[in-house]
C-alpha cells in the first residue's frame, strides 16, 4: 500500500455509498488510466512496427518465408557496413567523452567569462543535425574547403578528406561530436557537481596528484552518470543517419544508410531494408545490454 491508496479508500467508499463491495474501483486504477495513452501509443507506433520489420525481413512481397533478403544485404556489403558503423560509433563516442570531460571539468572551476563560455559551448546543441552536416561538408570539402584553407595558411599541405573511407569516417565522427558534445558535457557536469569538493580536497591534502584524484575519486563517483551518457549517446551513435547521408552519402555505407538505400515502398528491396534493419536492432540491443551490465545503471528514477 502506498500513501495515495490508504489515503483515498475512504473517499471512494463514501461516493459509492458502500453498495458495491465485490469490485472496488481503486484510485490506483485511475492513475493507471492516466498512463495508458502514452503506453498504448508506444506499443502501437514503436513495438508493433519493430516486430513487423523483424517478420518482414523473412518475407517476400507474396508473404513467403525466405532467407534470401539476408543473403541479398550480405552481398551489398552488410559486413563492412557493420564494421564501419562500429568504427564511427566508437570513434565519435571517444571524441565526445574526452571533450565533454574537459568541458565539464572546466565548468566546475571559477574563472572570468564562465557564463559566456558555457553559452558558446551549448550552441551546437541547438543547431539542427542537417545544418551541421551541411556546414561540415563545406568545411571539409576538397575544393573550397575551410579546413584545407586553414592548413594551407599554416603552410601545410591540403588533405583530400574524401580520398579513403577512414578519413571519410573521421569527418563523420568529428561533425557528430561537434553537435553532441554539449549534451554529454551537461550530463557529466551534473555528475561532477554532485561530487562533494571535500573529497577531492582531502585527497589533495593526502598527496594525490591530478591523475590519481581523477582515477580514484572522480571516476568511480561519476561512473553511473557516465554509463547513462554512454547509453544515450551510444544508441544514437549506432543510429547515426542524417550526418553520414549528407557528408559521405553511401560510400562507405553504414547500417542506417544501407537500410535507407534499399527503402522503396513499392519494391522487393523494401524487404532487404528490413533485413538490414534487423541487424541494426540486434546491434543496439547488444550494446545497451553491455552498457547496463558494465556500467551498473542500478536504479531508474528512484527518488
Amino acid at each position: 500500500m502506498n500513501d495515495a491508496d490508504s489515503f483515498s479508500t475512504p473517499d471512494v467508499d463514501r461516493r459509492n455509498g458502500g453498495i458495491r463491495k465485490q469490485f472496488q474501483w481503486k484510485e490506483t486504477y485511475t492513475y493507471f488510466m492516466f498512463i495508458v495513452p502514452a503506453l498504448a501509443y508506444v506499443i502501437a507506433l514503436s513495438f508493433y512496427p519493430a516486430a513487423e520489420a523483424v517478420f518482414g525481413s523473412f518475407q517476400t512481397p507474396t508473404k513467403h518465408f525466405v532467407l534470401s533478403n539476408y543473403s541479398a544485404v550480405v552481398s551489398m556489403g552488410l559486413v563492412t557496413s557493420v564494421v564501419d558503423t562500429v568504427i564511427v560509433s566508437i570513434g565519435a563516442l571517444v571524441i565526445q567523452f574526452l571533450l565533454a570531460l574537459a568541458i565539464a571539468t572546466i565548468l566546475t572551476k571559477k574563472f572570468v567569462g564562465k557564463g559566456a563560455f558555457s553559452t558558446l559551448i551549448i550552441l551546437p546543441f541547438g543547431v539542427a543535425t542537417v545544418v551541421s552536416g551541411f556546414i561540415f561538408s563545406i568545411v571539409f570539402s576538397a575544393v573550397g574547403g575551410y579546413a584545407n584553407s586553414f592548413l594551407v595558411s599554416l603552410g601545410l599541405h591540403p588533405v583530400n578528406w574524401y580520398s579513403n573511407r577512414y578519413s571519410e569516417m573521421v569527418i563523420v565522427m568529428f561533425s557528430d561530436s561537434w553537435k553532441n558534445t554539449p549534451l554529454v558535457a551537461l550530463i557529466l557536469l551534473s555528475g561532477l557537481t554532485s561530487l562533494s569538493p571535500t573529497l577531492r580536497e582531502s585527497a589533495m591534502v593526502d598527496g594525490a596528484g591530478p591523475l590519481r584524484r581523477f582515477l580514484y575519486i572522480t571516476a568511480p563517483n561519476v561512473k553511473g552518470t557516465m554509463a547513462i551518457a554512454m547509453m544515450i549517446r551510444g544508441v544514437s551513435e549506432f543510429n547515426i543517419f542524417a550526418l553520414p547521408l549528407i557528408l559521405i552519402g553511401y560510400h562507405p555505407i553504414l547500417l542506417t544508410t544501407l537500410v535507407y538505400e534499399n527503402y522503396n515502398l513499392s519494391s522487393v528491396t523494401l524487404y532487404y531494408s528490413y533485413a538490414a534493419a534487423v541487424f541494426l536492432l540486434i546491434f543496439i540491443l547488444v550494446f545497451s545490454s553491455v552498457i547496463i551490465w558494465a556500467g551498473g545503471v542500478k536504479s531508474y528514477a528512484s527518488s
Binding site: 492513475y31 553559452t119 543547431v127 584553407s149 547513462i228 556500467g295
Partner: protein
C-alpha cells in the same frame, strides 16, 4: 598558480574556438561574396567583404517559406502531443507504486532505443494505407515517438518533486482528483512543462529520419535542406541553414538555465 590559470584560459579559448568555428563558417558563406567563398580553392578565413546578395538571390530562386511553415506546424503538433500524453502519464506514474512505475519507465526507455529508421519504414507502409503518408500529421505522430519517453520522464521528475502532503491536503479539503491535478499539481510543475514543450519542439524541428521516410513529398525544412545539398545548391542551402539556425540558437541560449543534466537523462540515477 599563475601558470595553471594561463593554462586554463588557453584551454577555454581553444575549446570555444572549436565550438564556434563551424557557425562562423556558416556566417562566412552566407554573408561574404561568392568570389571569396565558393569561388576560391582556399576560401578566405576572414570576412573580407560583406553582402546580402547571397540571401536575396536564394529567396528569389527557391521556396524557403513553405518547408519552414511545415516544420513549424509539425513541431507545434509534436510539442502539444508531448504535453497531452506526458503530463497525465507523468502524474499517474508519480502516484503509483514506484516499483511498477520504474518498470514502465524502463519500458518507455526501450522505445528510445528502437532505431528510428527501423521503426519508420513499417510505419510508412502503414501510413500509406491510412492516408497519413506525405502528411504533416503523419510526421508529427511518428516524431512523437522520439520525444514521448523523455517528456514522460521530465514530467515524472516534476511531479515527484512535489510534496505528497500538498495533494493530499487538497483532497481532504474536498477537491476531486482532476481539480487537485489542475489547481495544485500542474501549477507547481510549470518549469517541467516548459522544458518538455521546448525540448519536444526543438527535437521535432531537428528531426530528419522520420520526416524523410514518412513525408519525402511534403518536406519539412531538414529534408528540404538535404534536397538542396544533394542537388548541389549551396547558396540556397546556406541561406536556409542560416535562417533556421538563428532562432534555435536564441532558444538554446534562453533554455540554457533549464538545460540540466538531470532533465536530459530523464531522471535516471546512476
Amino acid at each position: 598558480m599563475q601558470v595553471r590559470e594561463i593554462g586554463l584560459y588557453a584551454v577555454v579559448f581553444i575549446l570555444a574556438v572549436i565550438f564556434v568555428y563551424p557557425l562562423y563558417v556558416l556566417f562566412l558563406i552566407s554573408f561574404v561574396p561568392v568570389t571569396y567563398t565558393f569561388g576560391q580553392i582556399y576560401p578566405a578565413q576572414f570576412p573580407v567583404a560583406l553582402t546580402l546578395q547571397n540571401i536575396i538571390t536564394s529567396f528569389h530562386t527557391v521556396s524557403l517559406v513553405n518547408p519552414l511553415i511545415r516544420s513549424f506546424e509539425v513541431a507545434l503538433m509534436v510539442a502539444t502531443l508531448s504535453l497531452a500524453m506526458g503530463i497525465p502519464a507523468g502524474y499517474g506514474l508519480s502516484k503509483i507504486k514506484s516499483g511498477i512505475a520504474n518498470i514502465i519507465v524502463v519500458l518507455l526507455f526501450f522505445v528510445n532505443m528502437m532505431p528510428g529508421i527501423v521503426v519508420a519504414i513499417p510505419i510508412a507502409a502503414e501510413f500509406i494505407r491510412v492516408g497519413l503518408y506525405d502528411n504533416l500529421v503523419g510526421i508529427a505522430l511518428s516524431q512523437e515517438l522520439v520525444v514521448l519517453p523523455l517528456s514522460v520522464f521530465i514530467m515524472l521528475g516534476g511531479f515527484r518533486s512535489i510534496p505528497k502532503d500538498l495533494d493530499n491536503q487538497a483532497r481532504v479539503d474536498g477537491a476531486g482528483l482532476l481539480t487537485s491535478l489542475g489547481r495544485i499539481s500542474i501549477p507547481l510543475v510549470v518549469p517541467a512543462v516548459i522544458v518538455t514543450f521546448l525540448l519536444s519542439w526543438m527535437t521535432s524541428w531537428d528531426e530528419f529520419t522520420y520526416a524523410v521516410i514518412i513525408s519525402p513529398g511534403n518536406p519539412t525544412f531538414p529534408v528540404q535542406l538535404y534536397n538542396y545539398v544533394t542537388r548541389a545548391l549551396p547558396y540556397e542551402a546556406s541561406a536556409f541553414a542560416l535562417i533556421v539556425t538563428i532562432p534555435v540558437i536564441i532558444l538554446a541560449a534562453i533554455l540554457q538555465k533549464y538545460l540540466k543534466g538531470e532533465y536530459l537523462t530523464g531522471g535516471l540515477v546512476g
